[in-house]
């Protein structure tokens, strides 16, 4: 196998694995702050218990996010040296800013959240909880800035630089810092990512607690957990979908080839159909077994059936993203989002009737939903990144020109096997420790002196 393909597989695997964890810690971080906040307000021990239990789950998860995150920052240099040279003038700054403005905040206050309850006042503890959630949310901002610039580069010019050896290389050079940071897709993608992260957190609390009830473990506590998560879950999936719609519209304007691949759209023209299901056939440039609604993509992009939408045939074959992968990952994300909306909507109705935890079928539905927001995040990310291909910086640098020349295919294969083994082990450990925590359940409520249980 060639080095470019191996480098892509390794990057995809390592970031795909990493991306399981930060969305969950962003989502759980805010749930934990919510519990600490309620405890601060009304002193109800139940919220104290909730905060403590979910902080334990948070800690187990957070650490894998940290450990696998270092890999990501190193890999731009180790595996994508030519990319690093090409984009360094722009891409490095958000990574450094992420460290300075977000990771330090998060890691310092996490120390207090995990080990400092006895060392600080209740108010300071509350504040630390808020800062951990803010830190996690801010770190996502800077990494989305960097990634969005790859999708919709702005605030730069391409220069030809003469090296000391006389070789001439192309490079992107910053012309406007704020245009690069707030490029056309930054804010929409950031909102979409954060809302999806909140989905992971809220649906995780909802579903794992439903599972606890089904298994008859720590039932009262699990009921409280479920009740605390159902309305937030519904709110954030609704926001995810609203933001997602606007983001899709932006993609149609800034990356038309990507949108066409998402929708499996081959022909350019008005009345562009929305394909619900089907198999994009890249060889024959058509879709097999397509079920479609005429005109819907035009309506969605331009507000009218007459809006002309660019199809894939408008782009040279070498400039098209892989259509089937883009189409399927995008559609899977979309359908999963629908499912989350349904589950949480039914949940809110049951909650209003005070029957959220009464029906087995609902508890099962919520339980089985636990892994799905992770899947939705992953396929959403795959859609975003595969849809950008064959470019690593949209319309400026091809992925095949971005790799490290000094790293051989054998070396990448060796490191990939290493990551494969470590990450499989970490995943098993994570699941094992999570299960253990759910069996153990919350700490018993601490009795103040003189009180008898």
């Amino acid at each position: 196998m060639d080095a470019v393909l191996l480098a892509r597989i390794q990057f995809g695997l390592t970031i795909g694995f990493h991306y399981i964890f930060p969305p969950m810690t962003i989502g759980l971080g805010w749930m934990i702050f919510h519990y600490n906040n309620r405890y601060q307000e009304n002193g109800n021990e139940l919220y104290h218990q909730l905060a403590k239990f979910w902080t334990r789950i948070f800690a187990i998860t957070f650490i894998i996010g940290v450990a696998t995150g270092i890999t990501m920052e190193f890999q731009f240099g180790t595996n994508w040296a030519n990319y690093s040279r090409f984009v360094g003038d722009i891409f490095g700054a958000p990574l450094a800013a992420e460290g300075v403005f977000a990771f330090f905040l998060e890691s310092s206050f996490l120390g207090i959240l995990l080990y400092g309850r006895k060392h600080v006042s209740q108010r300071m503890y509350w504040f630390s909880s808020l800062m951990v959630a803010c830190g996690a949310t801010l770190s996502a901002f800077w990494i989305v800035v960097a990634n969005s610039w790859q999708q919709t580069p702005a605030g730069y010019e391409i220069i030809e630089k003469t090296l000391a050896s006389g070789e001439i290389v192309r490079q992107a050079q910053l012309t406007n810092f704020w245009e690069a940071v707030f490029n056309p897709s930054t804010l929409l993608r950031y909102s979409h990512v954060i809302m999806s992260a909140l989905c992971v957190g809220t649906f995780f609390v909802l579903g794992t607690s439903a599972w606890q009830i089904l298994k008859g473990r720590h039932v009262e506590f699990a009921r409280a957990s479920m009740r605390s998560a159902v309305v937030p879950a519904f709110a954030v999936i609704m926001l995810t979908m609203v933001v997602g719609h606007h983001h899709g519209h932006q993609v149609s304007q800034t990356q038309p080839a990507k949108l066409a691949a998402f929708e499996g759209l081959w022909e350019t023209g008005p009345n562009a159909p929305l394909m619900l299901l089907g198999f994009p056939n890249e060889k024959e440039e058509k879709n097999d077994f397509a079920i479609q609604i005429p005109g819907m993509v035009s309506l969605f992009v331009g507000g009218s059936f007459d809006t002309e939408v660019q199809g894939l045939k408008d782009f040279a074959p070498e400039d098209r993203p892989p259509v089937a992968v883009s189409f399927w990952s995008f559609h899977l994300m979309f359908y999963l989002g629908m499912w989350f909306a349904l589950v949480s909507f039914v949940g809110v109705i049951l909650w209003l009737k005070k029957k959220l935890t009464s029906y087995k079928w609902y508890l099962w539905a919520a339980t089985l939903t636990v892994p799905l927001p992770f899947v939705a995040n992953e396929v959403g990310w795959i859609a975003a990144e595969v849809g950008r291909q064959p470019w690593v910086v949209y319309n400026e640098l091809r992925t095949s020109h971005a790799v490290s020349a000094s790293v051989s295919a054998g070396e990448i294969l060796a490191s990939m096997i290493m990551f494969g083994l470590i990450y499989t082990l970490l995943f098993c450990l994570w699941i094992f420790l999570l299960k253990k925590q759910f069996h153990k359940g919350p700490d018993p409520i601490e009795m103040t002196e003189g009180e008898v249980a």
């Binding site: 187990i60 650490i63 940290v66 450990a67 696998t68 995150g69 270092i70 890999t71 920052e73 190193f74 731009f76 240099g77 180790t78 595996n79 040296a81 690093s84 040279r85 984009v87 360094g88 003038d89 891409f91 490095g92 700054a93 990574l95 450094a96 800013a97 992420e98 460290g99 300075v100 403005f101 990771f103 330090f104 905040l105 890691s107 310092s108 120390g111 207090i112 995990l114 080990y115 400092g116 060392h119 090296l163 000391a164 050896s165 070789e167 290389v169 910053l174 012309t175 810092f177 490290s404 020349a405 000094s406 070396e411 060796a414 490191s415 290493m418 470590i422 970490l426 450990l429 420790l433």
Partner: protein, 339 residues
């Protein structure tokens, strides 16, 4: 060479020094972890770094990001050139992070034992590899016209760089021993002071041999038109030896905090001697000097350096604030519980 470029060379240096001092002590604690005989002592070792190590590691991430942003060709050439070594650093750092968090999570001696070993190995491996990497940067690398490293993995394992690896390991081990003697109490603190004394001699010898080899190899690079430049690394090496001696004396007087602060200064001076020896180069090209990556030919554009300077000026005081704050909150000594 512009003032902005020199400023960024110094700022990267400060980030690396910050990382070496801060993660240095918890990497050092990892080195000593398996030397502690009692279970209670090993727990105390972990507790002594638990609230800090994650924040310490952020210095590495920020330093890496800043190098990427300020000197992209250097980041690209060095990270891809040291590919397998970097992967081993990652292997160490991943296991180390997970070990600290997971070792207490299951009540089983075999489980804890496995994580104790992971923590120690995960600390020793990066400590050596950082030294090997710095040794190679000081020595210079073989590059092609585009700046890609060409000599392969085994050429990185030359005597000078391997020696630098041992210097790195002994420096962090010494620093970690001082930290433990400051942070713990009673018997184990006395034992840590003993470790520090022994390691002190080891570090001193290794460091002096490395300095001698470096001087004989001509690794103090010349700066056109600035003759006195070659004295600066010598001065920082002298300062490193002075502060190292002070650390030794504090240790003898059982003043843990003084020894730790002096040891932090030693690390800073050692790193400064590396930076000033290499300057104005960042990666010296051994096969054609003209192809070297220098502070002036490898930096980002003035606009990027300026924007990042603003970020640094806003961010770094806040970061120093957090660092002080967290050490203030967890300033109490860590107790060793009876087994």
């Amino acid at each position: 060479m512009t003032a902005l470029q020199v400023t960024w060379f110094l700022l990267i240096g400060i980030l690396i020094i910050g990382y070496a001092i801060l993660d240095g002590f918890d990497l050092g604690v990892g080195f000593w972890h398996l030397f502690a005989k009692k279970k209670s002592e090993r727990s105390a070792f972990i507790h002594s770094i638990e609230p800090f190590w994650d924040g310490n590691e952020v210095w590495l991430l920020t330093g890496g990001g800043a190098l990427f942003a300020a000197f992209p060709p250097v980041y690209a050439s060095v990270f891809s050139g040291f590919y397998l070594a970097m992967m081993l650093v990652l292997l160490g750092l991943i296991f180390r992070a997970v070990a600290i968090e997971y070792r207490d999570k299951v009540d089983s001696p075999a489980w804890t034992r496995a994580w104790d070993i992971a923590f120690a190995v995960g600390s020793v491996l990066p400590s050596i590899l950082y030294g090997v990497a710095i040794g190679n940067v000081v020595r210079g690398l073989e590059l092609n016209a585009l700046g890609d490293y060409t000599a392969g993995f085994f050429a990185l394992l030359n005597p000078f760089s391997l020696l630098c690896g041992l210097v790195g390991l002994s420096m962090f081990a010494l620093h970690g021993a001082f930290y433990l003697s400051m942070k713990l109490d009673g018997e184990i603190a006395a034992e840590a002071r003993g470790w520090a004394t022994k390691t002190w001699y080891v570090f001193l010898v290794l460091f002096m041999v490395a300095v001698t080899m470096g001087l004989r190899g001509g690794y103090i690079r010349a700066w056109d038109g600035v003759d006195f430049k070659r004295f600066i690394p010598m001065a920082t090496i002298l300062l490193a030896l002075v502060s190292n001696s002070i650390a030794f004396m504090f240790n003898k007087k059982e003043k843990g905090k003084g020894a730790f602060i002096a040891s932090s200064c030693t690390i800073a001076f050692v790193m400064l001697s590396v930076a000033t020896a290499v300057f104005p180069y960042m990666v010296f090209c051994t096969n054609d000097e003209a192809w070297s990556l220098t502070v002036s030919n490898s930096s980002s554009s003035p606009l990027t350096l300026f924007s990042m300077l603003i970020i640094a000026l806003i961010g770094m005081p806040i970061v120093l604030g957090y660092t002080w704050f967290i050490h203030h909150i967890f300033r109490a000594k860590v107790k060793v519980h009876k087994d």
